[in-house]
């Protein structure tokens, strides 16, 4: 190495200014973050189905196994599984464009109640989730009854669980004898309200009428749980819609369409039979069957699906 070259090598390169370095670093962070977010959004858009499939996987289905893994924190894990159960139910119920699949609902509720056996709302609201007929729920009243019986095993004096089983038999299974038996057992619990015994008598007279249903839902409306109140409110609105459907069908029968025409709201409005398109209590228009004038709640209505075989 010549002396000139050595001199050049020894000359220190000027250090970059700290302010410039900071700006470069911040710019680097911003560009990296923006790039990462961009890639994330693209991936989520392109492979949306894949992440949905992952959400449907429940790695451990044994509540006992999770309880052991959870060490001291089983109640907290119960909360996590409860939130997952709500998200699973809500996500499937609100999903559009794909078949609704509630397969994970019962295992999630079972895990929740194994981890925290005193989680009352998980039994009570879980039973409502499970009993709800398709497409609003899995339509598994058997699993709902199983879940509530598990709750009875932990708290045998909780009259609400007996009442809820009676209700599942009455509302979803139409088994009035079984409903009466469970109302009777509920009435025998300490602190049970006095309206349970009359309900037993009503069940024994096989009353699948709207007055009984309305009475029961009104009792549930008095519940302390906000979500139970919401469910009761929706069911009472469904009963009101059933009453309205009966009236509208009577009107349609009384004013049949002219020969060559079909049943329609427009025709009834034109003939001044109706003032406008009739709507249910959520503001969604009823649908009328053009061929026979039967009226139904629209599939887009929050009241859909409607309960069946509840007579006036």
């Amino acid at each position: 190495m010549t002396s000139g070259a050595r001199q050049t090598a020894l000359v220190p390169t000027p250090a970059p200014k700290p302010a410039l370095m900071r700006i470069v670093a911040i710019a680097g962070v911003v560009v990296s973050l923006a790039g990462a977010v961009g890639l994330q959004v693209t991936r989520d858009r392109l492979y949306a189905g894949q992440s949905r499939e992952t959400e449907r996987i429940l790695y451990v289905r044994s509540g006992e196994a999770v309880r052991r893994i959870a060490l001291d924190f089983d109640a907290l894990w119960a909360d996590v599984y409860w939130i997952r159960a709500i998200q699973h139910y809500g996500g499937e119920r609100l999903s559009t464009g794909r078949p609704r699949n509630y397969d994970l609902l019962f295992p999630l509720l079972d895990l929740t109640t194994t981890l925290d056996p005193y989680f009352n709302i998980a039994y009570r609201f879980g039973a409502i989730f499970l009993s709800e007929p398709a497409p609003g729920g899995p339509g598994r009243p058997d699993q709902a009854i199983g879940l509530l019986q598990k709750g009875i095993g932990v708290q045998p004096n909780k009259w609400q669980y007996y009442h809820d089983i009676a209700f599942v038999y009455y509302w979803h299974l139409r088994d009035f004898q079984a409903a009466a038996r469970w109302f009777e057992r509920a009435a025998e619990r300490p602190n049970a309200p006095n309206w349970l015994r009359p309900m037993m008598a009503t069940m024994l007279s096989a009353s699948n009428d709207r007055a009984s249903a309305r009475f029961l839902w009104n009792q549930i409306l008095q519940s302390d749980e906000e979500w139970l109140q919401k469910t009761a409110t929706r069911s009472l609105m469904q009963l009101d819609a059933l009453d309205l459907i009966d009236q509208l069908e009577a009107v349609a029968r009384r004013f049949p369409p002219a020969p060559g025409e079909t049943y329609s709201w427009e025709a009834l409005i034109r003939r001044r039979v109706l003032r406008g398109v009739p709507v249910d209590s959520t503001g969604t228009a009823f649908e009328i069957e053009p061929s026979d004038g039967s009226v139904r709640v629209a599939r887009t209505s929050p009241l859909f699906p409607m309960p069946e075989n509840i007579h006036r």
Binding site: R68, L71, D72, F73, D74, A75, L76, A78, D79, W82, I83, I86, Q87, D116, Y118, N120, I121, F125, S223, D224, E225, E226, W227
Partner: protein, 268 residues
Amino acid sequence: MRAIRCIALSVFRESIRDRVPYNLVLFAILLIASSFFLGQLTAGQDVKIIKDLGLAATAVFGLFIAIFIGIGLVSKEVERRSIYALLAKPISRQQLVLGKYAGLVLTLAVNVAVMTVALYVVLAYMTWTTAAPLQTSWDAPGIDPRLLKAVFLIFVELMLITALALFFSTFSTPLLSAVLTLGLYIVGHFNADLRNFESVVESRTAAGLARGLYHLLPDLSAFDVKTQVVHGLDVPAGYLVLTAGYGALYIALLLVVAILIFSRRDFK
């Protein structure tokens, strides 16, 4: 006694310098953020979940402090060779071990106390913002003094884990001490299964051995009454006294053995 107090205060000050109180900020953020989000996710179970989360976080943060500071209490002094300077002072090895233990317990006590206050503040806010008719659906009132029973047993459990960490730290490296303490923490939660081992095995020897291990290993599952207090179920005072007494005796045992081992160590 004065020497123990001085060492304890020095351990407490060191934990403050090590930024241990940062976990309290994290705890507060966790609780406050949860109180805002949970209402949307939990179908009216937000107060129950805040209680679960608050008690679990108190136990977890305490566990990390107990293990990761506890394992370094003695071994760090040995590694740094500051033990020579300490032992040259007019303090006995026994006082050193007890002072170190008391210092970490003081740190944990302050930590648990602040977390408990933060939990009650968040619960008070949630009670205040929830309509009275909705509160009747709660298993227990929002501001429930019974939560203190769970907090008390969490604290006793943390004291026991600190004693375990200190015990291992008197003869082992920090890494091994952490592994052993964490291992015993996990085993301690499965310990209750050993009690009824005779119902699953035929061998009397195996059953006897299991029963022996049940009595020898710390029974940590007994300190967990979180589920009961959150649901407003009764935890008898007798249970609290017996469990705390069990914890105190086990801690005493661990400290005595730790002092014996530490007293016999040669630091040449």
